[in-house]
C-alpha cells in the first residue's frame, strides 16, 4: 500500500510537465460524459414528471387492450357501474371519489419557435378536487360546469402561447375562456388544460369516456377493487395502479432516449478511451527509467500497475466532473416542450453517479493495459534504454 502511494505520488508530480496530454483525457472524457448526462437528463426529467403524476392509492381503468388513455373507450353504463365497486373511497360531499375523464387535444403555438403543438384537454368529473388534491389553483378561479371554460397548467402556460387567463382557446363549439391557472407538484397534468368532462363531451358530441380513475380506500384495496371489476358483467377492462400505469407509459420513450444517450455517449467514450490509452502509454514510456529504478529498488509489479491505473482514473474522474458540471449548468431545470408535453430536464445525483461510473470504467481500461506494460518492462533493458 505504501509502495502504491509512493509511486502514484511520484507519477502525479510529473503531471504538470505533461499537462497537454493529460488535458486530452480530461477534455475527451468531459465531452463524452457531458453528452451522456445531458441526454439522460431528458429521460430522467420525463420519468420524474411521469412518476409524480401517479399516486399509489389511485387506480386507473381503461378498456381492455388499450395501450393508453388515447386508445381507450368506456361507455357511460360501464362508468356508472364502476363507481359503486367496493374498495373505492367515499366522501360526504361527492359520495364516491372518482373521475371519469375524457381527453382530447387542441393545437397551440410553442412560445419559443411558434411551431404547432398538441396540448391535451382533459375533461374531469365533479369529484376531481377530492380525487386529485395535488391540483391547486394558483390564480384565477375554477371552471364552471356548463360554461365553455378551462383552467391551464403552469407548464403549459409557460411553454405555449395564448394560454393566459382571459385568453380564448379554440375548442369545439367556439372559443373557450381560460379562467384559472393551476399547479400539481410538477406532474404531467401541469402540461394539460382541464375542463368539465360533461361540458367538453357534449361539445364534442361524444358519449364515450376515455379513462376512469378512482381513489382507493388504501393502497391495499387495489386487489379488492380489481376482483370486483373483473367479476362484474360487461366488457372486459384493465385496471392498474396509477403509479404502475404511468411507469408503463413512460417506458418506451425513456428506453428510446436512453438508447440514444448510450449510443452517443458510448461512442464518444470509446474515442476518449483511446485518447486515455494513448496518453498513459506515452506517460509510461517517458518514465521507463524511473519505473525500472523503482523495480530495481524492490517495488512490486502490483504497485506500478496500480499507480498507472490510479493516474488514469484521476484524469477520467476530473473529466467526468467537468462534463457533469457543464450538463448541470446548461440543462438542469430547463423546460423543454416535446410535442404537447413539457419536460423539465433533471441532472439528478443518480445521473452524476452514472456519468462518473461510466468515466471510471473507461479509465480503468485506459490505465490497465499501459500499467501492465509498465510492470512488464525488463528492468535491465529499461535501465539501459535512452
Amino acid at each position: 500500500m505504501k509502495q502504491i502511494i509512493a509511486v502514484t505520488l511520484m507519477n502525479l508530480r510529473t503531471v504538470p510537465d505533461r499537462l497537454g496530454s493529460s488535458l486530452v483525457v480530461v477534455v475527451g472524457m468531459a465531452c463524452a460524459v457531458g453528452a451522456l448526462v445531458s441526454i439522460l437528463s431528458m429521460s430522467a426529467g420525463f420519468l420524474r414528471t411521469m412518476e409524480s403524476t401517479g399516486s399509489p392509492d389511485r387506480a386507473i381503468v381503461l378498456s381492455d387492450g388499450a395501450l393508453g388513455e388515447w386508445g381507450s373507450t368506456l361507455s357511460r353504463e360501464t362508468v356508472t357501474t364502476l363507481s359503486d365497486m367496493p374498495g373505492v373511497q367515499t366522501d360526504p360531499k361527492f359520495k364516491r371519489v372518482v373521475s371519469a375523464d375524457y381527453s382530447g387535444y387542441t393545437v397551440v403555438a410553442k412560445k419559443d419557435d411558434g411551431l404547432d403543438a398538441y396540448v391535451t384537454v382533459r375533461g374531469v368529473g365533479p369529484a376531481n378536487a377530492a380525487l386529485r388534491p395535488e391540483i391547486k389553483l394558483v390564480s384565477g378561479r375554477m371552471f364552471r360546469p356548463g360554461q365553455y371554460e378551462i383552467i391551464t397548467g403552469v407548464a403549459a402556460q409557460s411553454q405555449f402561447a395564448g394560454l393566459k387567463e382571459g385568453d380564448r382557446v379554440s375548442l369545439p363549439e367556439g372559443e373557450w375562456l381560460v379562467v384559472g391557472t393551476f399547479e400539481s407538484g410538477g406532474s404531467m397534468t401541469e402540461s394539460e388544460l382541464l375542463a368539465d368532462a360533461a361540458t367538453l363531451m357534449s361539445s364534442m358530441r361524444t358519449t364515450a369516456f376515455k379513462s376512469f380513475t378512482v381513489r382507493l380506500n388504501s393502497p391495499d384495496a387495489l386487489a379488492l377493487f380489481k376482483r370486483s371489476v373483473t367479476s362484474r358483467p360487461g366488457p372486459a377492462l384493465q385496471i392498474e395502479r396509477e403509479t404502475d400505469y404511468f411507469a408503463d407509459q413512460s417506458r418506451s420513450f425513456t428506453k428510446f432516449l436512453n438508447t440514444i444517450a448510450y449510443v452517443v455517449g458510448g461512442i464518444m467514450g470509446l474515442g476518449a478511451m483511446f485518447g486515455a490509452l494513448n496518453t498513459m502509454y506515452s506517460a509510461v514510456s517517458s518514465r521507463q527509467r524511473e519505473i525500472a529504478t523503482l523495480r530495481a529498488l524492490g517495488f512490486g509489479a502490483g504497485a506500478v500497475v496500480t499507480s498507472v491505473i490510479v493516474e488514469a482514473l484521476l484524469f477520467c474522474a476530473a473529466g467526468a466532473l467537468v462534463g457533469i458540471a457543464v450538463a448541470l449548468a446548461l440543462f438542469n431545470g430547463n423546460e423543454h416542450a416535446l410535442g404537447g408535453m413539457v419536460i423539465r430536464l433533471a441532472v439528478t445525483p443518480q445521473l452524476a453517479v452514472t456519468g462518473a461510473g461510466f468515466a471510471l470504467v473507461l479509465g480503468l481500461v485506459g490505465g490497465l493495459l499501459p500499467g501492465i506494460r509498465a510492470a512488464r518492462l525488463p528492468v535491465a533493458t529499461a535501465l539501459r534504454a535512452v
Binding site: V27, G28, C31, S63, P172, I267, G271, G275
Partner: protein, 381 residues
C-alpha cells in the same frame, strides 16, 4: 509525392500512438455518420411526403362523421378522398400492437406508392374480412396469402368478442421504401358494421388534389366547411405535416450540431496532442533535416501532411464503416432503419471536417518544427 515515405515513416514512428489516435478519429466519424444518417432520414421523410396529398384530421381528437368524405370530394380540384379508420390490435404478443388501415379502394388511389394491382384491390373489395399487407408485415408475422389470422383489438365487436379475423388476400409493397414499410389494409365496412361505439365515423381523410399549388387553399376550404360543426377538421398537405412532425420531435438539429461540435472539439485536442508529442520527440531528426537543407516551410508542410494523412484516413474509415454499417442496422430493425439514411454528401462534409481538424491541430506543432533551431535541437536542449 517524393516526401511521402518520409511522412509515412514519421507517422509510424510510434505505432501505438498513431493507432490509438487513428481509432479515436475513426470512432468519432462513425458517430458523425450516424448523426448525419438521422438528419438524412428525417430529410428523406419530408422529401418523400407528397404535396398533392392532403391529410384531414380531427381538430380536437374526436372522430369525424363518414359523411364528410363526400362533401370534401365535391370541392373543386379534389380528385379523390379516402376515408380511414385505424383499428389497433395485436397478433399473439400484446406488446407488439400495430394499426390496421380500415378503408376502401380509394385508399390505393390516394396512395399510388402502394403496389396493389387492380385484381388485388377488386378481391379485397369483394371480401369483407380480406386484407392486403406489405412484405415487411408478412415477414414479421410469418403470414402467407390464404392465411386467416386473428387480431386481438381493444375495439369490441357487436358479439362482445375482441378477436377480429382477417383473410390475407395479397402481399404488396411500398415503392418509396421497398421492404421497409408496414401496411395492413382492410375494409372500412368490416370495422364499422362490427364495432359498437363511434359507428359511422372516421379518424382521417386522405385527399388527393389536382394542383399542388392549391394545397393551402384547398386545406383552408376543407377546414372552413366544418369549422362550426361538432367535429372541426385540421387539414394540411402531407409535406407540411411531415415538416411539422420532424420539428416537433424536438430540436433534433440543435442536438446533432451540439454533439458534432463536442466531438470535433475532442478530436482537436486529441490529434493536436498526438502531433505535438511526435514533433517534440523528433527535435533532433527535424534538426538533421534542416541541416541537410530542408526549408522551414517544408518542415511545416511535412508535419501538416502527417496530420492530414492521419485524419483523412481515419475519417474515411469511420465514414465508410457508418455508410456500410447503417444499412445493416436497417436490416436488423426496419423501424429504426427507416429513420436512418446517410447521404453520400455526408462523406464530403465529414472529410471536410477531418481536414479542418487536421489543419487546426497540426498548426501549433508545425510552427514549432518550423521555428526549431538546429543547434539547440541537436544539443538536446
Amino acid at each position: 509525392m517524393k516526401y511521402l515515405p518520409l511522412v509515412w515513416a514519421g507517422l509510424w514512428r510510434r505505432p501505438a500512438r498513431t493507432i490509438f489516435t487513428f481509432l479515436s478519429i475513426t470512432v468519432a466519424f462513425i458517430l458523425f455518420g450516424i448523426l448525419a444518417a438521422i438528419s438524412g432520414g428525417l430529410a428523406h421523410a419530408v422529401n418523400a411526403a407528397r404535396v398533392d396529398r392532403l391529410i384531414a384530421d380531427p381538430k380536437f381528437g374526436t372522430n369525424m362523421p363518414y359523411a364528410y368524405v363526400d362533401r370534401v370530394a365535391g370541392l373543386p380540384g379534389v380528385t379523390v378522398v379516402a376515408p380511414r379508420q385505424i383499428l389497433v390490435g395485436y397478433y399473439r404478443d400484446p406488446k407488439q400492437a400495430f394499426g390496421i388501415v380500415m378503408s376502401d379502394r380509394r385508399f390505393f388511389a390516394v396512395r399510388p406508392e402502394l403496389t396493389a394491382t387492380k385484381e388485388q384491390i377488386d378481391l379485397l373489395m369483394r371480401t369483407r374480412t380480406g386484407a392486403l399487407i406489405t412484405v415487411l408485415s408478412a415477414k414479421q408475422f410469418g403470414w402467407k396469402v390464404g392465411d386467416r389470422v386473428p387480431v386481438i383489438s381493444n375495439t369490441v365487436k357487436k358479439d362482445g368478442s375482441k378477436v377480429w379475423t382477417f383473410d390475407i388476400l395479397g402481399i404488396i409493397d411500398n415503392v418509396d421504401q421497398p421492404g421497409r414499410s408496414r401496411f395492413f389494409i382492410s375494409n372500412y365496412d368490416y370495422v364499422d358494421e362490427e364495432r359498437t361505439l363511434e359507428k359511422g365515423t372516421i379518424d382521417r381523410m386522405l385527399v388527393r388534389i389536382k394542383d399542388p399549388a392549391r394545397a393551402t387553399a384547398t386545406s383552408r376550404a376543407i377546414d372552413a366547411m366544418f369549422a362550426n360543426s361538432g367535429a372541426p377538421t385540421r387539414t394540411g398537405s402531407e409535406k407540411s405535416q411531415a415538416q411539422t412532425g420532424v420539428q416537433s420531435i424536438g430540436d433534433i438539429g440543435f442536438f446533432i450540431r451540439a454533439v458534432i461540435v463536442a466531438v470535433l472539439f475532442m478530436l482537436l485536442f486529441l490529434t493536436g496532442n498526438t502531433m505535438m508529442q511526435s514533433v517534440r520527440e523528433r527535435g533532433a531528426e527535424f534538426a538533421v533535416l534542416k541541416a541537410m537543407g530542408y526549408s522551414d516551410t517544408k518542415l511545416l508542410a511535412i508535419v501538416m501532411a502527417e496530420s492530414i494523412i492521419l485524419c483523412l484516413m481515419a475519417g474515411l474509415a469511420g465514414l465508410a464503416i457508418a455508410k456500410l454499417g447503417i444499412p445493416r442496422i436497417a436490416d436488423l430493425d426496419p423501424d429504426t432503419g427507416r429513420l436512418l439514411l446517410m447521404p453520400w454528401s455526408a462523406i464530403g462534409t465529414g472529410m471536410g471536417f477531418a481536414l479542418l481538424v487536421a489543419l487546426v491541430s497540426a498548426l501549433a506543432p508545425g510552427l514549432r518544427a518550423r521555428r526549431l533551431s538546429i543547434t539547440d535541437a541537436l544539443a538536446g536542449r
